[in-house]
């Protein structure tokens, strides 16, 4: 009796430790992946912010902009204009998607129709499951999940929902990338204004102000080694 109990306990702990180990690896991999995606976004934002250098370098190098206020004013104006210029197409795409939505639903008069569900929307292109009778089986089992939809294309007028989703989704993602680029440029402007117009003497090369060779003249000191030609 004691031996069988010990065997059961051993089996339980073996399987539990395996499950815990697998879960730990999954969690570490998940957070590491999140970290890698975050690092990638940081690098992309750095590249997007470099556009400010392209806008402002002729003005700085020619000496036409030598004041912090002017630098911020001109760079913000250019950044805003660039954002407006690059956001025209994504906003047009969103407007086209909304136009198709309004025209389609004004014809069939069904304003409650969803563009996401698996009968009339984009959900028809994916596998979907019904979780209403879902139950948990320990340690890692699931039961009573029913397959609701297999991928298929709509061939009726409802296929317009695909185009509505495509236009709006593409336009929205493009627009959000432009917003991210604007934020990156704002961060870069702040960094450059502190760097170029810095009042911190730590950033100034003092040897350009004074002739340090004369100040540190040790030619009369016999203890120092001399350079003879």
């Amino acid at each position: 009796m004691i031996l069988t109990n010990i065997n059961i306990l051993n089996k339980f702990f073996d399987s539990t430790w395996k499950v815990v180990l697998v879960l730990l690896i999954i969690i570490i991999a998940f957070f590491a992946l999140f970290g890698l995606i975050g690092t990638l976004i940081e690098k992309v934002m750095y590249i997007q912010g470099k556009k400010v250098d392209k806008f402002m370098s002729p003005l700085i190098l020619s000496g036409l902009v030598n004041d912090e206020k002017d630098f911020i004013k001109i760079s913000k104006r250019k950044s805003t204009l660039y954002f407006v210029k690059t956001s025209i197409i994504p906003i047009l795409l969103i407007l086209i998607g909304l136009l198709i939505f309004i025209i389609y639903h004004s014809i069939d008069n069904e304003w409650n129709e969803s563009i996401f569900n698996d009968q009339t929307g984009i959900g028809t292109l994916f596998f979907t499951w019904d979780f209403s009778e879902f139950s948990y089986v320990p340690p890692l089992g699931f039961a009573n999940i029913k397959l609701q939809n297999t991928p298929h294309f709509l061939t009726s007028i409802e296929c317009l929902n695909y185009f509505i989703f495509l236009f709006i989704f593409t336009g929205l993602v493009w627009y959000l990338i432009n917003v991210q680029a604007y934020i990156s440029r704002a961060i870069r402007i702040n960094k450059l204004k502190n760097k170029i117009f810095s009042k911190d003497l730590d950033n100034v090369d003092l040897s350009t102000l004074f002739d340090l060779d004369k100040l540190n003249d040790n030619s009369n000191n016999p203890n120092l080694p001399s350079n003879t030609n």
């Binding site: 570490i28 998940f30 957070f31 590491a32 992946l33 999140f34 970290g35 890698l36 995606i37 975050g38 690092t39 806008f55 002729p58 003005l59 190098l61 020619s62 000496g63 036409l64 001109i74 250019k78 805003t80 204009l81 660039y82 954002f83 407006v84 210029k85 956001s87 906003i91 627009y175 959000l176 917003v179 991210q180 604007y182 934020i183």
Partner: protein, 125 residues
């Protein structure tokens, strides 16, 4: 290994901050949409008034002119320096200045009048 742990730590921070960053991005998107509308109308009015609405304005054109002139100035300075050096050959090995043969052989043409400033002596020697 340390880099992996740094990435893991960043991942936890990004996971916690992700909803807040998303909300911030959406709010910025809304604010910038308003800016977009205002700037578009402003640019349409300026366009019909005949003003410049592009990214490159008068200041940029002036800056490019200044940089172009600076480059030209630098180039002419370099050319002048090299032509001056070409007129005298420095023999650094023997540490003597060698005057080119053409300059040495250059003779003064005889004058067709008597130069009284030298006491009437037209001899070059």
């Amino acid at each position: 290994m340390i880099e992996f742990f740094k990435t893991f730590g960043k991942g936890i921070l990004y996971f916690i901050g992700f909803p807040f960053l998303l909300v911030f991005l959406c709010l910025c998107g809304l604010y910038l949409f308003v800016i977009f509308i205002i700037t578009t109308f402003k640019n349409i009015i300026l366009f019909f008034k005949g003003k410049n609405i592009s990214l490159k304005d008068d200041l940029d054109i002036k800056a490019m002119e200044i940089l172009k002139n600076k480059r030209k100035e630098r180039l002419t300075n370099v050319i002048n320096q090299t032509t001056q050096q070409a007129n005298t050959i420095n023999n650094t090995y023997n540490n003597i200045n060698v005057i080119p043969k053409e300059l040495l052989e250059k003779k003064e043409e005889p004058k067709d009048y008597i130069d009284m400033s030298n006491g009437g002596n037209n001899d070059l020697n």
